[in-house]
Amino acid sequence: MFPHRHLLGIEQLSQTDIVTILDLAEKYASLNRQQHKHLDVLSGLTQINMFFENSTRTQTSFEIAGKRLGADVMNMAMQASSIKKGETLIDTALTLNAMHPDLLVVRHPHSGAVQLLAEKVNCAVLNAGDGRHEHPTQALLDALTIRRSKGRLHRLTIAICGDIAHSRVARSNMFLLGKMENRVRLVGPKTLMPSGVDKLGVEVTDNMTEGLEGADVVMMLRLQKERMDGGFIPSEREYYHRWGLDAAKLSKAKPDAIVMHPGPMNRGVEIDGTLADDINRSVIQEQVEMGVAVRMAVMDLLARNLQGGAA
């Protein structure tokens, strides 16, 4: 039903896989809105969250997802631990593996690191973001949010705006939305556009007005603080002026276009604060909500494939 041992990226998923995850996540989204939101599908399983890079939001989301499904959840702050003592990633993986976890949720600052780790362990590995490579659960939760809001996940025009070059969210979304047969536009300053990305089946522009024209979905990306001062763009205020999302720019998109952001937001840098809070346009809070549901769905599906399980 779900032919994967790990969730390493969107690239390995088929259309059917994506729909399977989203359909199950939809059920968990309903469960999450009930007062009693506990199931036992992961009961007896151990989930370890290994974050080699700080992320309160994603880690919390995975933790809640695991707990709602009855798993025993452990958080390991990897920055503070053995890695500082010089242990290699593979040794860390082997050490953890010996404790027989069933689900490993991993975030790592280097592209490909989660896959490397997955090759060395027996349990299911979920990529919670590796370098600039992929962040599959983010793309899945975005997809679910879009589907709920637009009623479909195909033939939509979706503008992904901002720092594409350093964004794993952009890459995963690009792959997912492309696979589901949408029109994907990347919008942002040329200095933040990765080279050759136009050859990966997307449209590319550095003009917000052009990029947002007729869009059903406007997805803003976070601009990292360290990239704001002179290196990639001249200044925060010039960036906001040209690429920050405000009502005027949004008026180029379809009247019912939704606004998304993976968080955390820089209000007044990439997005106007009022717009972000506009419940008629912004689905940012729903994205966070769907994050838990999607992570529950993925862990449920992967747990079914664990050795000894009814795969």
Binding site: G112, Q115, L116, R132, P194
Partner: protein
Amino acid sequence: MSVLSNALLIDPETGTETRGSLRIEDGRIAEILPADADGIDCGGKCLAPGIIDIGVKIGEPGERHKESFRTAGLAAAAGGVTTMVTRPDTTPAIDTPEILDFFIRRAREISPVNVLPMAALTKCRNGVEMAEIGFLQDTGAVAFTDADRPVANPKILQRILTYANASGALVMAHVQQPDMSKDAVITSGPFATKLGLPAVSPMAERMQLERDMALVEMTGAKYHADQITCRAALPVLEQAKAKGLNVTAGVSIHHLTLNEFDIEDYRTFFKVKPPLRAENDRIAVVEAVASGLIDIVSSMHTPQDEESKRLPFEEAASGAVGLQTMLPALMQLVHGGYMSLPTLWRAISLNPAKLLGLEAGRLVVGAPADLVLFDMDAPFIMDRFKLLSKSKNTPFDGRRMQGRVLRTFVAGEQVYER
């Protein structure tokens, strides 16, 4: 042993492949005889001057756990490499006559093949203060290089080139603009974007070569670019040669036989410096070797232990072993019709010999009997654990290859037999 008979003699100097035999005396080629002469029957296989490999890293001093003179020497002999021209990027760097002297004595004691050392161009390869070029020459350094660290400051390099030129020293440079290349582990483009790895444009190579050519023009120095790996840099090299500058260029076996896609899912054995290029760049440099624009092909032998490669791609060490994989890897270009055996041997034996002023690299009477006998067709599957290098980091592991070394001779003495 005095006569090697019934061989296909590959002579890069005349560009010929002829049936014949060689008589060897006192470590030199004494006579070229007809194929049916009495002697050790080579079975019609190829007999060529031994490979002269410029840019071999040996782990001594400092990293003997990765490679020693013994293991590098064994690998070289088994790979048909009769002269290793070694790199000074050791720990510590070979930047004083004392360290160089130690290095040469170790080499003489242990290595079955010739070792000609290069020394650091600047102290500790820091790119700032020039090393004792004169003393190092007197001790035996055949060329000067900071290996993969380019001298960033052009003013400093100008002075070093001026001094080196006055001393008649050959300078080998890594032609990658350092600021552009900083932290980059892959060539920029759609594939790098998909993998999400820090990338560098091949233009960084052209930029550095352009800068260096201007400095060579100013100073008149004798200059060798270690690795030219992309199409964009070739016109710069062509112009420099047309101007009559004292310039040569090399390329590694990996850039001639692999491209960026081989990295696939972050395979760290394919992490080399500069990073593997796009296929059209690979084709362009293969053609440049065939035309002679790129003079020299080397293995850029860089041993790395398992630990330094079993890491996320960005953190993993760069480099690949090549002494023993060089010949079969390059046979791919011959079998693919890109170049003839004599043309290939010009790049791996004759031209390196000319660059360093050696008598080897030729099949003429009086030349040193540094020879390799090989079967250019023999097929096999590369098993990295069968390599004689202490480190087994070859990107060719598991690859179907053709070309086997049968015997290797250094100064008439057999140092390897399969």
